[in-house]
Symmetry: C2
Subunit: 724 residues, 2 copies
């Protein structure tokens, strides 16, 4: 049934060549009944795809065969693939079908693997891998794959297991429910990543993140083809890993919340099984209070030190003039370099405020004696010695922008929180870099805004090819001041899928509507992996409402919360009435609502659609008006609930704003539907009210204000609306 409304002609879209138009065409193919649009459910979008007619049925007889090169990891990948496909469909595989069917070809194929033609296996999906990938996963390995799906079967071929695993994820995304059963559409996909470094950083320092959370997020990374998990393991608020050489690090610096070395090895293994490198970060010389609690003699101040309970930048820093510092770091990094096999080793290096250095006469004398000029010079001195330590242990150093000093060796990598210009400057000097500016998930940006950030835009767009190639990719960052085990999934997903697409798909893939359609689909699919980015929400709202709430009251709370977002960027710190700490409960409405409201986005999109149609689209008008009426009438239930719960009480002003918004919107719709213009003063008055309701309250933003403002403006008749 796929392609029922299609012409039968083979269509080829080379996304690299055609740009966003081709992407949009591929992203939106007509399937099913006439008039129904559906998306090619693949995210990130492949670099090249050819749609064909027909579809491959997926039922209980579905089988997989591995041919060519094989290894235990591939067999586990296929087992996992079958489990995920079962969860996604609810199908129970026939007992007769072994988890991994090996054909005769497997045993003899390896020699002639270069032919690239897998032997016919009789399985529904034949998976052919050419050869092994590196024993320790390396930057820039071949991750490409080709996936051919036809009505009679599917073939996945890849150079290495990395490509194979990506192709399996693509297949999972293709499988959809149809009127006849589950099926994957006939398609040929040739796919490879744009950037070799596509990562997510999770801050386990400020709020500890239990193992199970890291694991399910690594499952999420695999699903969207990211290949680096950057593990931020030390912070002022906690040192989160067991050191056997320096046990006071975790004993005194973690409140008992740290990962054992056994757990670390388990997680690295888990990630490797999913084609994901694990890059640890140990932030020095700043962001280091928690280290110094156990080893105050390494600090630049008099000590003693205590774990920080507040957020922000703190004074404690290692003493770069003390040779014991280097002895300690050499031994500790040596221990960690053995534990973490990856070639890259992140040493942080950001945000040293220099206060302890300035206050320490010994350090100031050292700066003078060694002609280091100032604190920046001292940090450069530190970095150089640090780099030698990291290199001695066989690793390449990664650091934030601040570590960059021209005389460092060119194998270091800069992670830029400053932006593309900073990356470009580094690239010109011969340094490699990855972008994180624009990918901070904690700032609450929309997926579209993250999606628009390209690592090679700005100054980076003007680089020569050899320089541009030094931009390795990017990493989204989940800083955890306002994130804990309960809501962290929702702060990462689904928006991280948009960043993953930016880093994988061709630069020309920029269609936002297509991105959102596929992101919504992927968001639903990610739940089968165990991610709780949607389920946490109702549970938190239930807690906020309390068990004395009626179902109607809980529904009203949800109606309100559905269109709210937390204030953006760093406004939460700035608007706090009590200074937040690591002991602050994250149980408020601001902690429960999504960072990007899907309901509000869809409302605002519907407004645009309605206005673009000259207010002549009755279905949209009815839907908008019904929604606005629900908002207008929602407040009484919230007021009632506020009598029972202090957590609801604080959002009463926002609820009243929603009622105002609904009321204004209904009036505007009535004018637009009737085609009559209100007096100009009405628009002025409503706009003033809208300005008022757009102000954050309880650290929350009412997102549909933008759409309602457009409706109000449209009543002026400036568009073809308002006058019929």
């Amino acid at each position: 049934m796929f392609g029922r409304a299609r012409t039968g002609l083979l269509k080829r879209f080379n996304l690299l060549g055609r740009g966003c138009v081709a992407a949009a065409m591929l992203g939106m193919m007509v399937v099913g009944a006439p008039g129904q649009q559906a998306v090619l459910n693949v995210m990130p979008l492949p670099s090249n795809a050819q749609m064909r007619d027909g579809a491959l049925s997926v039922d209980a007889n579905f089988s997989v065969a591995l041919t060519g090169y094989s290894e235990a990891r591939l067999e586990r990948a296929v087992t996992r693939f079958r489990q995920e496909l079962a969860r996604q469909t609810g199908l129970v595989w026939k007992r007769e079908a072994p988890a991994v069917a090996k054909t005769e070809a497997t045993k003899t194929e390896t020699a002639k693997a270069a032919s690239g033609t897998p032997a016919a296996s009789g399985a529904t999906l034949t998976v052919h891998t050419e050869h092994a990938s590196a024993a320790i996963q390396e930057l820039g390995e071949n991750e490409s794959y080709t996936l051919e799906v036809s009505a009679s079967g599917a073939t996945l071929t890849a150079e290495t297991p990395l490509g194979t695993m990506h192709g399996l994820q693509t297949f999972l995304q293709l499988v959809a429910v149809t009127p006849q059963g589950f099926a994957a559409p006939a398609v040929t996909i040739q796919d490879k990543p744009r950037f070799p470094w596509r990562g997510l950083m999770i801050d386990s320092g400020r709020h500890f993140m239990p193992m199970e959370i890291l694991k399910r997020n690594i499952d999420g990374l695999e699903a969207v083809k990211m290949n680096v998990f950057h593990w931020h393991l030390s912070e002022n608020q906690g040192f989160r890993i067991e050191s056997k050489k320096f046990p006071r690090l975790q004993e005194l610096g973690s409140d008992g919340l740290y990962y054992t070395q056994e757990e670390v090895r388990e997680l690295i293994e888990y990630a490797r099984d999913r084609g994901i490198r694990v890059v640890p970060e140990f932030d020095v010389p700043g962001h280091s209070t928690a280290w110094l609690v156990g080893y105050p003699e390494l600090g630049s101040g008099p000590g003693p030190y205590e774990i920080e309970r507040k957020w922000g930048i703190f004074d404690p820093a290692f003493d770069p003039t003390n040779e014991k510092t280097y002895k300690f770091l050499n031994e500790f990094f040596g221990e960690m370099a053995k534990l973490f096999p990856d070639h890259f080793f992140h040493v942080g290096g950001d945000e040293v405020n220099g206060k302890e250095w300035d206050a320490n006469p010994k350090i100031q004398s050292f700066i003078k004696a060694n002609a280091l000029q100032n604190d920046a010079g001292l940090q450069a001195y530190f970095n150089k010695k640090l780099q030698a330590i990291i290199a001695k242990h066989g690793k390449s150093m990664v650091g934030w922008d601040e570590v960059l000093t021209p005389d460092l060796p060119k194998d270091i990598v800069i992670q830029s929180w400053r932006g593309q210009d900073s990356l470009a400057a580094a690239a010109k000097q011969g340094f490699r870099g990855i972008l994180s500016n624009g990918y901070y998930l904690d700032l609450g940006w929309s997926a579209a805004r993250h999606y628009a950030v390209d690592p090679t835009s700005g100054a980076a767009a003007t680089l020569a090819p050899v320089e541009s190639a030094r931009i390795l990719g990017g990493e989204s960052c989940m800083w955890s001041e306002y994130v804990n085990a309960e809501n962290v999934d929702s702060r990462i997903w689904p928006r991280n899928a948009a960043i993953a697409e930016r880093l994988w798909s061709p630069q020309s893939v920029t269609d936002v509507a297509s991105m959102y359609a596929r992101m919504d689909a992927e968001s639903a699919r990610l739940e089968w992996l165990g991610l709780t980015h949607r389920t946490y929400y109702r549970q938190m709202l239930q807690r906020i409402a309390g068990h004395l709430a009626t179902p109607q009251e809980v529904a009203a709370l949800r109606e309100l919360a559905d269109v709210l977002e937390p204030v953006k960027d760093y406004a939460r710190e700035q608007s706090a009435t009590n200074e937040p700490t690591s002991g602050t409960a994250l149980n408020r409405v601001v902690d429960a609502v999504a960072l990007e409201s899907g309901a509000a986005r869809r409302f605002n999109e519907l407004v645009d659609k309605y206005l673009a149609a000259g207010c002549k689209d009755d279905d949209s008008a009815n839907e908008l008006r019904a929604q606005l009426i629900r908002w207008r009438d929602n407040d009484p239930a919230i007021e009632s609930l506020a009598q029972k719960s202090f957590l609801v009480k604080e959002v009463v002003p926002v609820s009243q704003d929603l009622a105002t918004l609904g009321k204004i919107g209904v009036f505007a719709m009535d004018y637009l539907i009737l085609g009559s213009q209100p007096p100009a003063a009405w628009r002025t008055d409503q706009s003033a009210l809208l300005t008022d309701v757009s102000k954050p309250k309880a650290q929350l933003l009412l997102v549909p204000v933008a759409g309602v403002q457009k409706l109000v403006s449209a009543t002026g008749g400036a568009t073809s609306c308002g006058v019929k």
Copy 2:
């Protein structure tokens, strides 16, 4: 703020003495703003409670002290309690407060524990335990506790850790969100169970249930004070436990889905930590195909045997005339008796159809030679030998009704699927029994219907006290033909809480409205334990709708599914178009909807309320009419979705029925609101239509039909409605 609207007088309700009126009064206390009713959120309801004014604030400074007898299990229980309280409130405990504060009293108190007066500890909650419970938890141990909560602190005292753990659960249930923060109302509770055996059986045989599912359900049992987990480990469709003596049992009889002995020990330890005994069941001589796959020589037929893939009663049975059978069972039960420490050992014994025995001349000769008369006589012979084996291994035998033979020793226990009369007959003969008839969770009964089943009703009500005391309690049963890892939680919870209350609370506690109010609250709370009985639902509906569905379509599917229930009792087998097997996907709407629809129950209750008010309750009228309009207008989105998903297509007739129901209901409401009577023919016509829509379709029932029928009938003016 608790008790704000109260008189300040101390009120005492002895539920044992006052019956259901007192229970209803306790269950519904006025708290919060005037006009708002709230429930005492304790389930099962305690045997005795005295409400006082005031409340104990629960904030980040909350602390717990253990005094009196202590042990590692109690410390773990307190740690878990603190974790659960944190999940339930979102609070972050002050770092300064150790997980378990031990006062000076702890060290010296044990000697004078008999005084029963815990030392003042300064903690928010002081927990005092008198002495240890049995090393291996025994039937009938003291499980009582006393919990006193005042504005200044709380004290929990219990004879044994079993009572302590129950009291901690009660405290967790008392904590609620209030206008000022989280708090527990001031109350004194003296509580103890009515029955000593309060269990849940899970059938791991027909569908394997992974460890994590069993664990979270054991957490659920602890929450509602059940104390037995009955683990059904062998079935025709699977032998689910590792035997080291007879490894072919699991190797050939389980499809690889079995529990290792290490996992079994882990689960027993986990249950013991929560005051729960684990009783294993190994069903013989019938229900045993999976055993015979590996050991066909023990069967009564010629073999070979294969794991059953269908449901029902099958022919294979052990050969009771073969001495090898007893040698095997003696060795195997010996192995299992060591693994499971509990004193009780369940051998099944149900539903032997006798076909293999009848067809085997050797067995028939044996029956004649030993004057056993028939198959029943042969099974009695088998049971007697079996009982001797069980007794030899130091256990008491438990079996279903069929095992009962008068000459068996009196220490055996009958689990009755037949009912109270069967239990009473056994009790009169001196046998102990537990009730499961009426507690089969898979039959889809309402919580109210389970709640009405009392182990000592029927013939059991006429027993002499000494006989009645032989009725030890009951067990709910989760048979798993149509239940898998995905939806099993929803088939057990929240209804199991009603059965737990029946077995714990005084017999006089029977108020259904109070039960439902507290069950709804407990259902929300159970989510913090990790139970997925609510979260699975949206995920299954999303799969059914598919990722191409619009949010409106998914909402419409939910509107429909919310008021559907699967057909009851054994109607699912009877109405199946394809014979269901263990390979049948459980991914249909019938697998997703709750076994008892909360939305439909509330609708039907609202109809009753509206009619009881003589149709003069405008708020109810508006709410009913709005709901009916949503149902009337819901079908177009379902029809659209059915074009995309075969899983939706099958419920189109049900969706059309819902539209019909809504249409009829809106008309009826309009008559009632206007106070005008329709022609009598209208009522006749609508009732005929309602009879039609009440017929199951796609194995689903449209539950609000009952309420709409009442509205239609009311238009006849027989009540005070319909004529104003």
